[in-house]
């Protein structure tokens, strides 16, 4: 279980998060949504350890991990999929997946992960994870690195961004499969209604605060009514 207690964060003199409290229970698929600039991605980066909060506490299965490095958190089983995947000159897709798996991965396993995210495994496994791949291809490979890691909690920052309509169904399937296994907690930051629909719980972050949270079936209808205002980022 991940617990965020009164997490505050500011940058360039602007407060991004105001004392955010959030609990991600084991095995839950939580969707975090809300207007752009509301602090969702910052929260994800704080969970991964990329940003350190100004104040507050992060507990992972009761252990205070607030001051732990990115590496230490990864080794405890926290995974993070970037909104903008990173390109590597000279590192192949297979090598990246192998690093994600902790160094032990067969080609067949790598192909399985690539197939799950809708990539033709044979075509991609030897390709470089560099600028020769499109944004959508890199995004799917990014998600495959999380599958290869077998984490206990995975945070996906806008996994749908850059993914075409045909691959989107694969993506939904990936999350549904993870959800069915209930072996890991999943946090998805998303604006996509179809992703929000499969969540167990939805949390709305707006203006650096938790504006609403609850069962997806309860929260989603309200959200859909408010959507035009939320998208404009002007509040409702």
């Amino acid at each position: 279980m991940l617990e965020l207690k009164k997490i505050a964060f500011s940058a360039d003199g602007k407060t991004i998060l105001h004392d955010v409290d959030l609990v991600v229970p084991d095995g839950e698929l939580m969707a975090i949504t809300g207007p752009n600039g509301g602090g969702k991605s910052t929260l994800a980066r704080i969970i991964a350890g990329i940003e350190k909060p100004d104040s507050g506490q992060i507990l992972w299965n009761g252990q205070d991990i607030t001051q732990l490095s990115i590496t230490d958190r990864a080794r405890l089983g926290l995974g993070y999929a970037f909104q903008q995947p990173v390109r590597f000159k000279g590192i192949s897709v297979f090598e990246l997946l192998k690093l994600a798996a902790g160094g032990d991965l067969t080609i067949a396993q790598a192909c399985d992960y690539l197939s799950q995210v809708g990539l033709c495994a044979r075509e991609y496994v030897d390709r470089m994870a560099d600028g020769s791949l499109s944004g959508g291809e890199l995004k799917r490979i990014e998600i495959a690195t999380i599958l290869a890691r077998k984490v206990k909690l995975a945070v996906f920052d806008e996994p749908e961004a850059g993914i075409d309509l045909w691959s989107f169904q694969n993506l939904i399937q990936v999350f549904e499969d993870l959800q069915k296994k209930q072996q890991e907690s999943i946090v998805i930051i998303s604006h996509q209604e179809r992703l929000l629909k499969i969540a167990d719980r939805i949390v709305v972050i707006e203006g650096g605060r938790v504006a609403a949270q609850g069962d997806a079936q309860k929260i989603l209808p309200d959200l859909l009514q408010q959507k035009p205002c939320c998208k404009a980022g002007r509040g409702c």
């Binding site: 991964a48 990329i50 490095s69 990115i70 590496t71 990864a74 080794r75 995974g79 993070y80 970037f82 903008q84 995947p85 990173v86 590597f88 000159k89 000279g90 590192i91 090598e95 690093l99 994600a100 902790g102 690195t145 890691r149």
Partner: protein, 329 residues
Amino acid sequence: MGQEHLSWNVTGTNGLAARQEHQGIDMAQQHLLREIAGLNGMPDGAFNIRANGATAQRQSSAHVKIVGKTDVQGIDIYVEPGTKDEVVYIPVVMSQSGIQELVYNDFHIGAGADVTIIAGCGIDNCGHEDSQHDGIHTFYLDKGAHVKYVEKHYGCGAGDGGRIMNPQTVVEIGEDGYMEMESVQIKGIDSTNRVTKATLQKNAIFVVTERLMTHGQQNAISEFEVMLAGENSGAHVVSRAVAREQSTQQFISRIYGEAPCNGHTECDAIIMDDAKISAIPEIKANCPDASLVHEAAIGKIAGEQIIKLMTLGLTAAEAEEQIIEGFLK
């Protein structure tokens, strides 16, 4: 170093040995040969192993003759026209401190031949005196000849004597010829001044991949000059470099288009610590149908790359090494 099971000092397995000189290959040299040429024993086919300033072992094959020069240090390698799929090894190793040599190796590649040449130089300097190998390799490719030339430089040894290499490669590619040159210097060479000059005739292609890493107080200069003289000739010169600690690097690449041709030169460098790198590309077209491009980029390892690998469980140092290893691969 553990017990080795190597087959040095035995005749090659193809029964075509024409060895001229014999000399033992010591353990330090065996280590160097593994590093620079991937050799764990005497190779099949034609080869010439030069150790501590003299030919240690040499063998010709049915289609590749290796002959020692009489006026200067070095060898002539004659590849018969039409020779296919042969690999020729010509490594140089130095395990004694203080040796300085200038060697001329000339490669005569017959028309239509297709061969791989594995060169390279390794210096193990445990002494106080400088060890220096200057090699001048000249390639003459006849019509339609194909060559893959692999050259790896490596230095080791605990001594404070310098490990110095100044290789010159001169390439003349005839009509329809193709040469691919792969040059690697990753570790241990204190000072290098590398010069590669090529002239290409009609339809000839020259592809160069250079990988270079310097550290400590090392200094490396790498200079390319490619003359695209023939119609429809093409060159692709790519350098990947990493400069660490206080090392310095200079990359100079000139491509001259004298005819309708395509030329591309690219230098991509990672700079770390207190290193210094300069990249100086020059393209010159003397024909309106010459198409020439240069690209040069120098920068630190992107922070996001390190962060991504850390989110996979690597430490920052492990991530950095992984990125460099991939970049230079």
